[in-house]
Structures are given as C-alpha cells and as structure tokens.
Symmetry: C3
Subunit: 119 residues, 3 copies
C-alpha cells in the first residue's frame, strides 16, 4: 500500500496518508505569530482545515488531536475558539498539555490524526 504525502520538504510533510488514515504535522500560526492565543488558535485551526481538505478528509473526521500550549493557564481562551470550530457531534479524542515551542512567537501547536473520506 502506498503512502501519500502532502507539502513534503526535506524536514517534514504537512500530512502523510496511509490506509485511509491521515497523520498531520504539528501546525502553528503563520500570519498571527506573536498575536493573542485566540487569534493564533483561529489561524491554526484554519490551517489544519486546509491540510485536512488537501488530504481528502475534513474537520468532521478528526480522530484525535494533541494540543500544546506554552501557557496552559490560558486554555479557556483556546477552548472558546475550539468549541466554536468543531462540528457538532464530531469532537475528537483530545489531549492538551503545556510545552515550550520552537518559535518564541508561537503559543499553540496542534497535531492531529484523521480519517479520509470514503471514496
């Protein structure tokens, strides 16, 4: 069975797809780097959505996410954006922990595993 990869560079890919399952890279803010956690969350979720669509999945088919926040005390600010974004009845298995990220302007990083749409 072949592996499909999206947005592949020498260092990573945005998503790897195998056997109907999509593995997404840790996504971080691009345009909103350094801005509020809420703004970054909005952008990161939009970027995840783009990658999901490119991989033949969508945000209603996410199986699990892992969310890293540089300040876990701000989780409510992230949750507000998250709750509004998740399609009703399709929330994934989720874990959220605090961790320092690679770029000082990034306060949130999200990885995910999703199911491809049936074809």
């Amino acid at each position: 069975m072949t592996i499909d990869r999206i947005g592949v560079t020498q260092r990573w890919c945005d998503a790897a797809i195998f056997n109907g399952i999509v593995f997404l890279a840790g996504h971080v803010a691009e345009k909103t780097e350094g801005r509020s956690l809420g703004e970054q969350t909005t952008e990161v979720l939009a970027l995840l959505e783009e990658t999901l669509e490119a991989a033949g999945s969508d945000k209603s088919r996410i199986l699990s996410v892992q969310i890293f926040l540089t300040d876990i005390a701000k989780i409510a600010e992230m949750n507000e954006v998250w709750d509004a974004w998740v399609p009703k009845g399709t929330a994934p298995a989720r874990a959220t922990v605090e961790a320092k990220l690679a770029s000082p302007g990034h306060d949130i990083e999200i990885t995910a595993v999703a199911a491809k749409k049936s074809t």
Copy 2:
C-alpha cells in the same frame, strides 16, 4: 467507513474508532484529583480500561500510550502501578515526558491508541 465516537461532547470525545483502531483522549483522575501520583495512576488506568471496553477493545490490546507527568522525578511511583496493571506480554509502545497539565490537581494524563477486538 464510519467513525464511531464514545462520550462525545462539544469539546472532545473519550474515544474515536475507525478501521479497527481506537484513539483515546487524554485521561485524568476524577475522584483522586489532588491525591498522590500512585492513587491518580490507579484511577486513570481504571478509567482508560472502561473506555477501552466501551470501545470494543481491552487493556491487552493497547498499541501505544503517551504519559504526561507534572513531575517526571516521580516516574517510579507511576511505574509501580503501571507494571502491575499491564497484562503480561502485552505492554504497548510507551513514551513518558514531563508536562504541566490543565488542572492543578492533576499530576498524570494518559492518551492511548488501541486495537479493537476482532469480531
């Protein structure tokens, strides 16, 4: 192929099941919040077991776990409970790192991926 979700709220589900694989949310203590790491570990593993059973799997079919401890120096206290809990010969791929968690009363959070039982 359909996705089954257990314990779904607007924010997360306890487990998402697709193509025979079960993705479990980060599980934390409920009744033993604020108690010793050993007590919390015992409860978290019991909760994981409940979710696994509800998802059509069991603790002998875990593929991988990720364990977050707020104080990695206490890993031996967690390992003692863990080692007694894992059915002989079925230990999963495991990674354990330190991370601050969302609630100050939580000292351990465990996520897992498991295989459904054959039907």
Copy 3:
C-alpha cells in the same frame, strides 16, 4: 487481527504492529547518554531505524514523529542530523516540543508511527 509486539518487557515494547501500522515507543540514547544533542540524535535515529527494520518497515515509511527536546533552543543541532537522515521525499508529519525527560542524561526522545512494507 493479531497484534505483533517487538522487544516486549513488562513495562513497554519497542514497537506494536497492527493492521499494517507500526507504533514505536519513545526512543532515547543508550551509548551516547549525557553527550551532545547531535550525538544523541544520531544514535536515537539509528535505534529507530533498527526498530523499524525489525517491525517490517523502514525509515522511508514513517508517517509521523513526535520529538521531545529538553532544550528547544537547540533544535537546529537536532535538525541538522535529522535532515541528513531522512530519505529525500519521504519526510513524515512532525511535531517538536520541549519537555523534561525521565533520565537527566537524555536530551531527546522520539516516538513514531510508520507503515509496514507491503508483502
């Protein structure tokens, strides 16, 4: 469907294989514990490669990796080794965050999910 496990002890296994997907444990340095991050990265990637081969996969078939560094400021030192190690065009979905690890001599831990080779 059966689960195959490699290097299983009472606490963990090096890899669990189910339905063509290989789940790898967090790998850390053995011989280079306490040495530079670059040296540890070289060893950890070699160990991952060994486990992948034993599991019927290889480093060109990695779907996702999670990298934990005890000092994220040193990520460039890890990336240099990583970029040279990844076979062109096969880079996996990747997330790298900072986390304290179980042994003070370990500065990097890597987990991965990979696809088995077709048979």
